[in-house]
């Protein structure tokens, strides 16, 4: 079991550096290798499912002095996150094969994507705060290179913006970790369990988490980062990167380190404001990728809400939404990529009636949107219901009411995009995207739907994770 966990981390992490080498010989070999690396990582994590379901842990430790112990643990939370991110990552790599096959710098592209996924998997299995920070920054560097993929001046500036905001946040978080170390003498999360973190440390760590997970007021880098190629936006800003912050919150604060009661008052208000402001902004924007990016900010608030509420139902809802949002939002960004590819515009006012010429994209977009809106029978419904219900149970009916407004905004802006882009009169002659891309979006859309009918399977797994995190159900 330990070996599988290490394979899941190090195959993509080390293999990524082979990709440029392979690319020199043959692009085909490189593409195949990238796909194999990500699949192998996914497979290795998947093999951990059945031990986790029977309540087993796997831990791998190398002692290093000064608190720098290398500790990896495969618990239910880690395996869940690893599976969710590497699966979406796998689909996105597959989609990339069709999307960027005539762009430059492909060697770097595949290397960065695979390295990024490796860092993500490493992060989710880490039990030591220092290594969480380390993988966090590797991810940030990959993200910076990938956003600036097209190398135009404006695009590079925006990549810098994303990098600077998240790195400053991460540095603040590192300071927070140091304060924890000074107080409790360890970076090991297992040793920190049940400790009460000082408010300053919580504040600093929240800086890092909110900047990575794009929550108001550290969110504006996310819409700007939409200049990246669409598979990158899907990978970074929908499915994987922004989940790092949410995950870190779950890892550090849910069931491990406690914070003062004041934070239970402050955090829900901050994320409620974030959800509503970004929802409103999404209704005004006209650039399809910016709208979806704002929608990410708004939906991340839902995930946060679930995790902040600190009761099993809400936490389970938050975790379920990590998965469902990854599937749905990944699908939306990939659909936006197809639209951009085929219509050569990102302005939704210039599109229209595309359901006639691009039926597969339209239906996939519709299905993914429905999941994000939380409409049954899609998976998003259960997640949203659990989060709202858990918030009420946590004694915050008014916050739940505010999030109902957020959910209404979600319906409004996604419906607006769908109606403007796909319904009405045909304005642009555009053909359907390539088969590779359509298979990718179709798969994500179908999984969003099946996630609702067979919600029992992720839910069973999440229940184990919640039990491990908070000790009871």
């Amino acid at each position: 079991m330990e070996n599988m966990m290490l394979l899941a981390i190090f195959i993509p992490l080390i293999g990524a550096f082979l990709l440029p080498l392979a690319g020199v010989f043959s692009p085909k070999v490189r593409n195949a290798l990238a796909l194999i690396l990500v699949t192998a990582s996914f497979g290795a994590s998947a093999s951990l499912v059945s031990p986790v379901l029977s309540n087993q842990f796997a831990t791998f430790t190398i002692s290093i002095p000064l608190g720098f112990d290398l500790i990896f643990t495969a618990d239910a939370l880690g395996v869940f996150m690893a599976l969710a991110s590497s699966f979406v990552g796998l689909i996105i790599v597959f989609y990339s094969l069709g999307y960027i096959h005539h762009d430059q710098n492909q060697n770097e592209y595949y290397m960065m994507v695979v390295l990024f996924l490796g860092a993500m998997v490493g992060l989710v299995y880490s039990q030591n705060l220092i290594y969480i920070y380390l993988f966090w920054e590797i991810a940030a560097i990959c993200c910076w290179r990938l956003i600036g993929f097209y190398r135009e001046r404006d695009i590079i500036l925006r990549a810098d913006k994303a990098f600077l905001i998240t790195v400053f946040g991460a540095l603040a978080m590192l300071l927070g970790f140091v304060i924890l170390y000074n107080n409790f003498g360890s970076f090991d999360l297992r040793a920190l369990k049940g400790k009460m973190a000082p408010d300053l440390a919580v504040l600093l760590i929240m800086f890092g988490i909110f900047s990575k997970s794009a929550t108001l007021p550290f969110h504006t880098w996310l819409p700007d980062a939409g200049v990246a190629p669409s598979p990158v936006t899907a990978l970074l800003h929908a499915a994987v990167l922004v989940k790092i912050g949410v995950f870190a919150f779950a890892r550090i604060f849910v069931g491990t380190i406690d914070f003062g009661p004041i934070w239970y008052q402050i955090l829900p208000v901050v994320i409620a404001v974030s959800a509503i402001v970004s929802g409103g902004a999404a209704l005004i924007e006209n650039d399809i990728k910016r709208i979806i990016a704002y929608s990410t900010i708004s939906q991340l608030a839902f995930i946060f809400l679930g995790l902040v509420m600190d009761n099993p139902l809400a936490i389970a809802g938050g975790m379920l939404f990590i998965l469902m949002h990854g599937l749905g939002k990944g699908g939306l960004f990939l659909c936006a990529g197809i639209l951009e590819h085929c219509t050569h515009t990102k302005d939704i006012r210039q599109m229209g009636g595309l359901i006639k010429t691009m039926p597969v994209t339209a239906v996939s977009f519709g299905l993914c949107s429905l999941s994000l809106m939380g409409i049954p029978p899609f998976g998003g419904f259960f997640a949203k219901y659990m989060i709202i219900s858990g918030t009420v149970q946590g004694g915050n009916p008014w916050i739940a009411g505010a999030f109902i407004v957020g959910a209404l905004l979600t319906i409004l802006y996604l419906l607006r995009v769908f109606a403007l882009v796909f319904l009405g009169d045909l304005k642009i002659e555009a053909r359907e995207g390539t088969t590779t891309m359509l298979v990718a979006v179709g798969l994500l859309a179908c999984l969003s739907l099946l996630g609702g009918f067979f919600v029992k399977f992720p839910s069973d797994f999440i229940q184990i994770a919640v039990r491990q995190m908070v000790g009871s159900l």
Binding site: P217, T220, A281, L283, A316, P377, F382, I411
Partner: protein, 611 residues
């Protein structure tokens, strides 16, 4: 075995609907005939389960969200009605929807909607009910887009209005689940004080919006014009009333024991819905739009009846629910027949069809008399019971509202019948519609007659058993109805006489059947209100859109302000810091003096302050 059959009621239409969506067919009528057979099979299964009590629990998402179904008197009643209506509407659609391009979606989503509707009635777990309830939204959206070219705008409107109400229902359910400690519907009994009251109102919003009560009704008249007619006959006509009123009844009678304040709130919504919608119906000049306002107005009667909490009112309300479903979809279907044969539903371009379409006219007549509350048709019985309930409850204002509603209902159907079927024919060579469309129409018309003459059968075998868990046997046995000379019959006669006199006056002043309501339309005072209503000043959706526009713009400005800080403030701070670069000019002497200066400062600090 019976459990499997119960699951089949939900899974079969869902699977069949999905199949219709994906399997293409070129053979003429193949899709239509298989759909009809499937709908017939559903009727068969539903009747096969009649009078059985089945409880079913399958683990699902955890945390109390189990797939619990419960078949009992109330749910079997609604399920039987749903499968019956779906069967009739499909039979009607074979000819009506012929040669439209997206029929696979029409039939597919019709079956998906049937599955969702049956699921939400059978559910015995609030989360499961919400799952099916909200799941209807997708079918609703797609079915409306199947209408005219620009129908998607109405579909978007519908999606938003119903979506909002469903979100309220979700919050209400979350609160109820928290307060009651369970999601199992048969175990929830709460009062309506404090947070429970909020939950009561939120759940009621969800239920009433589905039924089409004010202020969540505004999509219905728009859909009447845009959506395909069978959709109107099935959804706002029958299915949504069944679902909405089912839930209102469950909320107001089972889940909660509403206090007097809440009861008055429910009754007021009912009364306002009756009066406002019927006033709008009166002045309409389109067959389908006129009917759609009546679809809204009639739901007010049901809510008013159930809101009284008095046995007579509640029984009347539920009886009116099924009666309304029958005569309202019958009316919509006659409207469809007229549209199919003449190509229009504009009342000014119709007339004299009684001779050309005698069967349609006959059925229209029966249904119109029923909705107007003329004895001995079914609408008369249920309206009388609701009148009785409001009187028993003791608030005269609600009784008056119900009477005003009845007067204008009768008046507007006099106008409609006059304009469409009498007068001089506007078109030549119109013939009776196809027999496959006449069967469902006349079946429903016969329903009006049978449920009127033998009202005891539906009341004793459908309505009263449904209420046996909510009201005591003794109270229910107390509810009696008899045809005979009494005060309420006199009220009805008075209503009809006023309506007829009004009609005669209207026709005389305007000279046409369609103009029978013009004198009310242009009455002083009312004229302004009607004008504002037609300008959509009272449409919460339109007003909400305007207000929401400003609101979201404000939110967008907040977002931009935050971004401005990053874009302008931080770079200028960085530029300020960058000016320190000027100091680093590469001259050794410079650096040396800086170092010496710094050391001097340190020495000063150490000698003066640190002693």
């Amino acid at each position: 075995m019976n459990e499997t059959l119960l699951l089949l009621l939900i899974l079969f239409p869902a699977a069949f609907g999905a199949l219709l969506l994906v399997v293409p067919t070129k053979t003429k009528y193949l899709r239509e005939i298989t759909s009809l057979v499937a709908a017939g099979f559903m009727v068969y299964v539903a009747l096969g389960l009649w009078d059985q009590q089945i409880d079913l629990t399958i683990p699902w998402a955890g945390f109390g969200i189990d797939f619990q179904l419960r078949l009992y008197a109330f749910s079997q009643f609604i399920v039987a009605a749903i499968v019956g209506f779906v069967f009739l509407i499909i039979m009607y659609s074979i000819k009506f929807m012929e040669e439209r391009s997206r029929n696979n979606q029409f039939y597919g989503f019709l079956f998906l909607a049937e599955a969702m509707a049956i699921g939400s009635v059978l559910a015995n777990n609030l989360a499961v009910m919400l799952f099916f309830w909200e799941g209807l939204l997708i079918s609703l959206f797609v079915l409306i887009t199947l209408g005219r070219e620009q129908a998607f705008k109405t579909a978007v409107k519908t999606f938003i209005i119903i979506g909002l109400s469903d979100l309220c229902l979700m919050l209400g359910i979350a609160m109820v689940g928290f307060q009651a400690g369970t999601l199992t519907m048969s175990e929830i009994h709460l009062n309506t004080s404090g947070l429970n009251g909020v939950a009561f109102i939120l759940m009621l919003i969800g239920a009433m919006a589905k039924g089409g009560a004010l202020p969540f009704h505004t999509w219905i008249p728009d859909a009447a014009v845009d959506a395909p007619l069978p959709f109107m006959a099935l959804f706002p006509g029958a299915l949504e009333k069944l679902l909405g009123i089912y839930l209102v009844a469950r909320i107001a009678l089972d889940f909660f024991e509403p206090g007097l304040g809440m009861q008055l709130l429910v009754m007021s919504i009912g009364a306002i819905t009756i009066v406002f919608a019927v006033m709008m119906a009166l002045i309409q000049k389109d067959f389908k739009r006129l009917l759609s306002y009546h679809a809204i107005s009639q739901v007010g009667y049901m809510i008013l009846g159930i809101g009284t909490g008095v046995p007579a009112g509640v029984v009347g309300g539920l009886f009116h629910m099924i009666n309304n479903a029958i005569f309202k979809s019958c009316l919509f279907l006659t409207g469809g027949a007229v549209e199919k044969q003449t190509g229009t539903t504009d009342l000014t371009r119709l007339g004299g069809l009684a001779k050309q379409m005698p069967v349609t006219f006959g059925c229209f007549l029966v249904a119109a008399l029923s909705i107007s509350g003329v004895p001995p048709f079914n609408g008369f019985v249920s309206k009388e019971l609701i009148f009785e309930g409001t009187i028993e409850k003791g608030y005269l204002v609600f009784f008056i509202a119900a009477v005003i509603g009845a007067i204008f209902t009768a008046a507007s159907f006099l106008k409609l019948g006059h304009a469409v079927f009498f007068g001089k024919p506007e078109q030549k060579g119109v013939s009776e519609t196809h027999w496959s469309m006449l069967i469902p129409i006349s079946a429903l018309a016969w329903g009006c007659i049978i449920f009127g003459l033998r009202f005891d059968i539906p009341i004793n075998f459908l309505v009263k058993p449904s209420l046996s868990t909510s009201l005591s046997e003794e109270l229910l046995n107390h509810v009696h109805f008899k045809f005979g000379i009494n005060e309420l019959l006199l009220v009805t006669l008075m209503i009809l006489i006023i309506a007829i006199l009004n009609h005669i006056h209207g026709v005389k002043t305007s000279g046409k059947g369609v103009g029978a309501s013009e004198h009310i339309h242009h009455a002083p005072g009312l004229k302004t209100i009607y004008h504002l209503a037609e300008e959509r000043v009272f449409d919460p959706y339109v007003q909400g859109k305007i207000a929401g526009g400003y609101l979201t713009l404000g939110l967008y400005k907040i977002d931009r302000a935050v971004d401005w800080l990053y874009q302008k403030f931080f770079p200028s701070a960085a530029a300020f810091i960058a000016s320190a670069r000027l100091i680093h000019n590469g001259f050794f002497a410079n650096y040396l003096s800086w170092s010496l200066g710094g050391m001097l400062l340190i020495i000063l600090y150490l000698t003066w302050f640190v002693k």
